[in-house]
Amino acid sequence: MLLLAVLLLRAAPEKYLSVYSVAANYSVPLVQRDGRDYVGVLELLDPLGKVSARAEGQRWRLRYYRNQAEFQVGKTRVRIQGRDYELPSKFLLENERGLIPVSCLPSLLPQILGGPVTLHQEADRLFIGSVATHFTASLAAGNVPRLVFNFTAPVNPTVATEPGSIRLAFTRDPVVAPASTTLTFGSKIIPSASFAEGNGFAVVTVNASVPVMANFSNDGRTITITPTAAPVGKNATPAPAAAPTATTPVSPAQAAGATAVTPAYRRYFAVVDASHGGDDHGETLSTTLYEKDVTVMLARSLRQQLESRGITTLVLRDSDANLPVDQRAVFANADHAAIYIALHAASNGHGVRVYTALLPDGQDDHGPFRSWTTAQHGALPLSQSAATAISNEFQKRQIPVRTLAAPLRPLNNVTGPAIGVEIAPMGNDLAQLTAPDYQELVTSAIATAVAAAHDQLGAAQ
């Protein structure tokens, strides 16, 4: 028993690779073989899209959408789409689980995924595509110093206070280092901050000579570090009587003094989906304009309108990326969003069409497990009332509108309230679809209706 206890205590902690992508942020376990870190190929690719593998003797064939790769057990050579590549160490097959060395990911994955991949190997962090979140830090002038961090995307770190410092640990956010990993501010109260990454996450440590606290604002894009005794911004809650002395991880809400227990990661109230993207152009609206481009513009405009009304919003596709419809539904369901809004654009007809799911003939739910094709069933009445509210708002603004049920995926796969909005020009001029004033007219109507239905939708979240 004693020997077992000693062995367990001496065992190396389990390592994970954090993966950040447009589709999902997740982590996969690493295993050590021959002194190298290895990762399971299927576990790595599965959250990103349709992947399958098949073992044939010593060959292991991988298929990711249309791309194919063939590995050979115990060999370093791999054939991807007819071209040969060398792995830094041999491919392993353990219990039908294909393992490749982590160090090969930056060169191998782009051939399979078709996009750039960045590996921070020392930190076990993998960035697929341009997903990194950057930040700036500046000391705000005033009687009491305030250190303001501005991030390019909402973040949700775990906050821990220690004597002389406060630590922001980013476990699920793709936060990357600023130009210098050590920042100095020339203040006696908050002299410096440092950035470090390792074990699959990033940490920003702010050194302070007095107890400090973190306040979140701008929907998670801004974190302000202030001395606990100092008066704080109007959105912040009163400071605790004394900062905790132990290294106790607390959620942002707790850091800001809130009493409610919040989940480990942020839940957005609204998920806005810019439909199509990447290879899927949607409708070709003109020789130079695709539907996928208009939907991104509309999604950004809608996010701005919703956030200006205090509604936290996640835009599912903020770049020209391929995002399968199943993944879009998975995102909305995982977030338990109060409303999912899919945006479409069309040249046909005039004004706006608001859609709810036309449920297909599907299988029944099994106990707590819902049928994927009719997952929307329980939320359909709420989706219909949200669609009616939005439709009424369009009518108030004299925008022609129709409300219909439509066989439009992934509306039927979303478990919460879900609507689709298809925007056509008011007249015959397609240029109106890209006109900021028309986009704002449409998105402000949607945002106003969602804000008005906030309590009703939020109750179901």
């Binding site: 069309a346 046909n348 439509a406």
Partner: protein, 204 residues
């Protein structure tokens, strides 16, 4: 001095005749090529635009999509229908498509769009098999695709009692969407589609 041997006269005549024939055929081929080039491209759709005129005719109601008002219009038609239930369903959809392929179509489909066949499988399942030209040339958009799907399903279910579920295939295979929007991966519930059809008819 050496004199070149004279070419026999019959050889000269034969050569001239052959030369004239070759020139004539070249000119003919050139003219034919120009005529073919100038001829408009004809679709490879060899299916007759109207159902066969022989046989007894029946009164049916076709539900025709109209792009101008984004609605579904009930349109009475008298078409010859065969006795078999499955063949009747096919002829119904072909009559509907003949309207969409007409030059004055209220809801234009691409050239070559065709219903390959309709299978009626008990209990209450209809499978509509479209050709690839139907889907590949279909205009993209939520409403525009929904109009087509609803028109097909509502027409077949309204005139063929007992159909509860409809599956749409393209070239005999499952396809994700018609043209990027309307879902073709699942079975359509006819009762739900009939409600959409009522919404679309109210748009008139």
């Amino acid at each position: 001095m050496r004199v070149a041997p004279e070419i026999p006269r019959q050889f000269v005549i034969t050569f001239c005749v052959l030369l004239l024939a070759a020139l004539g055929m070249s000119m003919y081929a050139y003219r034919m090529r120009k005529a073919v080039t100038a001829e408009p491209v004809v679709s490879n759709d060899t299916r007759p635009l109207a159902p066969p005129i022989s046989g007894p005719t029946e009164n049916v109601v076709l539900f025709v999509a109209h792009d101008d008002d984004g609605g579904l219009h009930a349109q009475a038609a008298q078409i010859p229908l065969p006795a078999g239930r499955q063949e009747r369903a096919e002829e119904l959809l072909r009559a509907l498509l003949s309207i969409y392929l007409d030059k004055n179509s209220p809801h234009v489909l691409g050239a070559g769009a065709e219903v390959r066949s309709v299978f009626l499988i008990d209990p209450g399942v209809a499978v509509i098999d479209l050709n690839s030209a139907f889907a590949d040339t279909h205009r993209s958009g939520v409403l525009i695709e929904e109009l087509t799907v609803t028109s097909l399903i509502h027409t077949i279910s309204a005139n063929t009692p007992g159909i509860a579920r409809v599956k749409i295939l393209v070239d005999g295979k499952e396809r994700d969407t018609l043209a990027g929007h309307a879902d073709l991966s699942s079975f359509y519930d006819v009762a739900a589609v009939n409600q959409v059809a009522a919404q679309l008819q109210a748009a008139q």
